[in-house]
């Protein structure tokens, strides 16, 4: 078993080869898909649990508190206990709600975030699927989630939920533009839409360093827009607790609520991992072009550590926003997008195209 912490290509190929050698091609494919599904599901649940714990601890430290500290050492088991509680809770049936849409909405939200995970390159060769239109796929899949939110708000037949869904529809549709356009800025610099190629292209320096002012601008816009797209504070208008009680998921209980909750955290993880993939080099170690000795030392740190380090740095930034800033108002939110971020973004794309055309980037 050729297992190598620095390069998973041979490992995944070995699994693939041994499956096809031992089974009929059809069953080999089924096996492979189930293994991938199982791994992604487990990963999804683990990351979700970890993020809930991390958010609790980090927000506690922002708020002069200790955070969970009773269940398990440093409260590590707390989220698992909460998960069990949510699983055991009654699923309240709402009279006059649209039953079918009401039940299907949380699944749409969670499937959208589930699909996006498939495209993340965790390390070299550690990829569920490596599209040549990876960025395009991610943008397409991540916009599915809003359907679930709209359905949830509309079908639960609650006025607060409807306002929450309305807000969220306006918000996500607007901010998707900024997310997409800042991703395209990087596509121009990378010359590819394949996520593995984008990471490989950052071997001589991460794009945020090599892409001049244009890449830094795109990074800032991406961070703002991604925070808004995941419905997190200061852009959590869709579930604004003090205004709409809980917005679109007011009427959900038990595990269905947990699906929305988990999907929110996973969306945060997904946007953070794309931020690290496109701007901070993904699993690529920190390299300085020319300084070979330094690069070799950096290469000794496994890519998974690089990847998760960067991703959690971005997640920490987003938590920092949430626990420091007050919430925006809906008109200010849309003004920010349509009057500032979008025009800046469009100019930025032109600037980046110009930079690449003239070869002025590093």
């Amino acid at each position: 078993m050729p297992f190598n912490i620095y390069d998973f290509t041979s490992f995944t190929q070995w699994i693939d080869k041994s499956l096809y050698e031992n089974c009929a091609p059809f069953w080999a494919m089924i096996w492979e898909l189930s293994i991938i599904g199982l791994v992604v599901l487990t990963f999804y649940a683990l990351i979700g649990l970890f993020l809930v714990y991390a958010e609790r601890k980090i927000c506690a430290f922002f708020q002069c508190r200790i955070g969970p500290n009773r269940v398990g050492p440093w409260g590590l088991i707390q989220t698992i206990a909460d998960l069990i509680k949510l699983l055991l809770k009654e699923l309240v049936n709402i009279r006059n709600a649209d039953k079918f849409l009401f039940n299907i909405a949380p699944f749409i939200v969670i499937i959208a975030s589930f699909l996006a995970i498939a495209a993340i390159p965790f390390a070299k060769g550690l990829h569920a699927i490596d599209f040549n239109i990876g960025i395009f796929y991610v943008i397409a899949v991540s916009s599915l989630g809003v359907i679930g939110i709209l359905l949830a708000g509309w079908s639960s037949n609650n006025k607060y939920s409807l306002i929450g869904a309305m807000r969220s529809g306006a918000q996500i549709v607007s901010y998707e533009l900024s997310v997409g356009l800042s991703m395209i800025t990087i596509c121009i610099l990378a010359g590819s839409m394949q996520l593995s190629t984008i990471v490989e292209n950052q071997a001589n320096g991460w794009f945020i360093f090599t892409g001049h002012i244009s890449a830094i601008l795109a990074f800032i816009i991406y961070l703002i827009a991604a925070t808004a797209e995941t419905n997190r504070g200061p852009f959590d208008l869709a579930e604004a607790e003090s205004e709409l009680t809980a917005g679109f998921h007011t009427e959900y209980s038990g595990i269905k609520f947990a699906f929305f909750f988990l999907a929110e955290f996973m969306n945060m993880f997904i946007v953070a991992s794309f931020a690290s993939t496109m701007f901070l080099g993904g699993w690529m170690p920190f390299h300085i072009a020319g300084a070979d000795g330094f690069n070799v030392v950096m290469d000794y740190i496994p890519p998974l550590i690089w990847y998760f380090g960067k991703t959690f740095f971005i997640i920490f930034l987003m938590m920092w926003f949430k626990w420091t800033f007050p919430r925006l108002r809906i008109d200010q939110l849309l003004t920010l997008e349509w009057k500032y971020l979008l025009p800046i973004n469009l100019v930025n794309i032109l600037l980046m195209a110009f930079l690449v055309l003239m070869g002025w980037h590093f």
Partner: protein, 373 residues
């Protein structure tokens, strides 16, 4: 034609929402019926009475010493100031001169109450704006004041420390030192509040120019306290009708001219500084003496009508007692600041967004038990 009518019908149809009685940002069981057009609030109609306990009626069957304990339950965040309203009325009616020491301690305690109340207001203001961290910053500092109360009074929220003629008991020997320590501590911590919330761009954008109410409207609605002073309505009872030590200490009446949510916010922030100034002027000079004037065990107010105003944390609290010379009041009526402040809500919130309504409500800082009584 039919289509036009249909469109007109849709446009004119109001979307009504019950905000409350159970809602996170009404700070209790207040019910606001909102008429919305999209996100814009067309009409706010407060429906009170969900926590009405008939305190004024109950007081007619209680002695004056007992009434003190009920007044804590009105605006529970300015419990001591409510106590003082009763005590001052009774003392005025009985023509009792309270010892100098009592006046000092009462004034210090009132101002501590005011700081604690404004701290909690700041917590909930931040929370209503969506910044949850504010809540814990405020509570962290409020805890220090509650500890001081606990040491001297034995209670933390429902204090009942004053009695007609003076105080229930003397201050704890540590009291002066702890108050001085607190002032020193809080002078360092208050700028943190500004760093976290006041200076924030989002916060300023959301509060400046929002929820305007003119000085004339303030006067006609009876919007008093920090909410009225945000519209340049100089209504501080501590200045206009001084009681306790307020005529002997130097302090500025915090006034703003803008009349918007941010003005009301700034007034409260300034009041915390002023309260600390007042306490600092008094804390070292508390004279020796009795903590209570000699009173009869059964107080019977002489026949007549008595009225006393005090400056509670949220505005002008008026207490009106009609006595027929019995040990119970014949009529007991409170003019509570929150009730009048709430009546200005529609004027402030009309034409604003739902999110603004929440911010305006937070800037009015209503305490529901005081509205319903």
């Amino acid at each position: 034609m039919a289509e036009e009518l249909f469109i007109k019908d849709i446009e004119e149809k109001e979307y009504t929402i019950n905000m409350g009685p159970q809602h996170p940002s009404t700070h209790g069981v207040l019910r606001l019926v909102l008429s919305l057009k999209g996100e814009i609030v067309e009409k706010v109609e407060p429906h009170c009475g969900y926590i009405h306990r008939g305190i004024e009626k109950m007081c007619e069957k209680l002695t004056y010493q007992q009434i003190i304990h009920l007044t804590d339950r009105l605006d529970y965040l300015s419990a001591l100031i409510n106590n003082e309203a009763v005590c001052l009325t009774v003392e005025k009616a009985m023509e009792v001169e309270v010892p100098e020491r009592v006046k000092y301690i009462r004034t210090i305690m009132d101002e501590l109450t005011r700081i604690a109340s404004h701290q909690l207001w700041w917590c909930t203001f931040g929370m209503d704006m969506g910044g949850l961290t504010c809540f814990f910053y405020g509570l962290r500092d409020r805890e220090k004041i509650l500890d001081i109360f606990e040491e001297t009074i034995g209670a933390r929220l429902i204090l009942s420390y004053y009695c007609p003629g003076g105080l229930m008991n003397d201050i704890h020997p540590n009291f002066q030192q702890r108050v001085k320590d607190f002032i020193k501590y809080f002078r360092k911590k208050l700028p943190e509040y500004d760093q976290l919330l006041t200076g924030n761009v989002i916060m300023q954008e959301r509060t400046k120019g929002i929820g305007y109410i003119s000085k004339e409207d303030c006067i006609s609605f009876g919007v008093t306290g920090p909410s009225g002073r945000g519209s340049n309505f100089a209504c501080d009872v501590r200045k206009t009708h001084p009681y306790g030590m307020y005529d002997k200490v130097n302090f500025k009446e915090a006034l703003r001219t803008e009349g918007d949510t941010f003005a009301r916010y700034s007034v409260r922030m300034d009041e915390m500084w002023e309260s600390m100034n007042i306490i600092e002027q008094l804390i070292d000079n508390i004279p020796e003496g009795d903590y209570c004037a000699k009173m009869k065990p059964i107080i019977k107010l002489p026949e007549g009508e008595y009225f006393q105003r005090v400056e509670a944390c949220r505005g002008d609290l008026g207490l009106y007692i009609i006595s027929r010379g019995e040990k119970y009041p014949y009529r007991f009526k409170l003019r509570s600041p929150n009730f009048s402040n709430l009546s200005g809500l529609h004027t402030m919130a009309k034409g604003q967004k739902i999110a603004d309504l929440v911010a305006i409500g937070a800037s009015l800082d209503y305490v529901i038990p005081d509205i319903d009584r």
